[in-house]
Assembly symmetry: C2
Homo-oligomer: 191 residues x 2
């Protein structure tokens, strides 16, 4: 049972987002810019970073839903998502993404773990400053989302099928659009 | 030196916020809602939670600037801020805030550390569901901001005086307003 009374029937982060629309708005806008907006890193690459960090933080809801959003972007390759979580150095992803996942894993432990050598390796593999920036912020942001979801003990049913279709839809439509389904919208003021 | 090339002369989070205005916008809106907007927890109480979590994450920039924002809200009581960091159970703060700081400290370690008993204690001390929610999200959010600031190795000069006046101004005007000083604003489209 969640630590506070949340709207019923909403999994994971959706419960507290519906409970507190004022904070849900910037939380959804942040993840939209980081994971869904146009970027030189593909949505699939960015979702893999989010999934990997959520796995390191042992957040069932986030690693599952973002894992399915990632695979929706990656030709439904759910096995690739599992390999990235298990040992990304042996997964079929680009050398550049491997260097970014190293940085993301360091950020998960704490910002000061990232070294100049880690960043140099990413740059040598072709990463730009903005890609390094976004990797650090995606990893940092999921250290927030994961703690938010688990710190309130939100409802996280453990059947993967409950997450797959929703992941596909979020991959297509983005976070802000999908969030309108479950977050109460402000009533327009009548003049 | 920061890991990526950031606009010069901007301390801590201000550098990457000026570098990437698209993510700065939701990051500032989130902290504005959590720490500055009207709330049954005072701004001073909420800034103490942010300062405490930033201290636990060993982020010099965030614990210093939010420490000064907190003291600006608390009759300039900088000693109180130091005591909260050193051992909040002996600080002159309300029993309710002590229970919320316990929860915040658990969130800093990971969301699953928060127990039903922690939440029950907060409720017994008078905390509402929304106050518990906001405490969890403030703590989670500072696990993000701290990692963002340190994961990019931002410039953080170690002279407290450089932070005091800025803290007072942010306490008065809020995050979104102050951020307009250093974040490039989108150019209006000419029709």
């Amino acid at each position: 049972m969640a630590h506070i009374t949340l709207p019923p029937g909403l999994q994971g982060i959706r419960g507290p987002m519906a409970f507190r629309p004022e904070t849900a708005k910037p939380l959804n806008e942040l993840v939209e810019v980081l994971l869904h907006a146009p970027n030189s890193l593909t949505p699939g690459e960015r979702e893999l970073i989010a999934t990997y960090v959520s796995y390191l933080n042992d957040c069932y809801f986030c690693q599952t839903v973002h894992g399915f959003i990632a695979s929706a972007h990656l030709d439904e390759d759910e096995e690739l998502v599992r390999r990235v979580k298990a040992d990304f150095q042996y997964a079929d992803i680009s050398p550049k993404l491997k260097t970014l996942l190293v940085i993301a894993g360091k950020v998960q432990r704490g910002g000061k773990h990232v070294t100049a050598a880690d960043v140099e390796q990413a740059r040598a593999a072709g990463a730009t400053d903005i890609e390094i920036h976004d990797t650090v912020l995606i990893a940092a942001a999921f250290c927030m989302y994961n703690r938010y979801v688990d710190g309130l003990a939100t409802w996280q049913p453990q059947e993967e099928d409950l997450y797959r279709e929703r992941g596909k839809r979020t991959a297509r439509e983005g976070y802000v659009t999908v969030s309108r389904d479950y977050i109460p919208q402000p009533t327009p003021t009548t003049v």
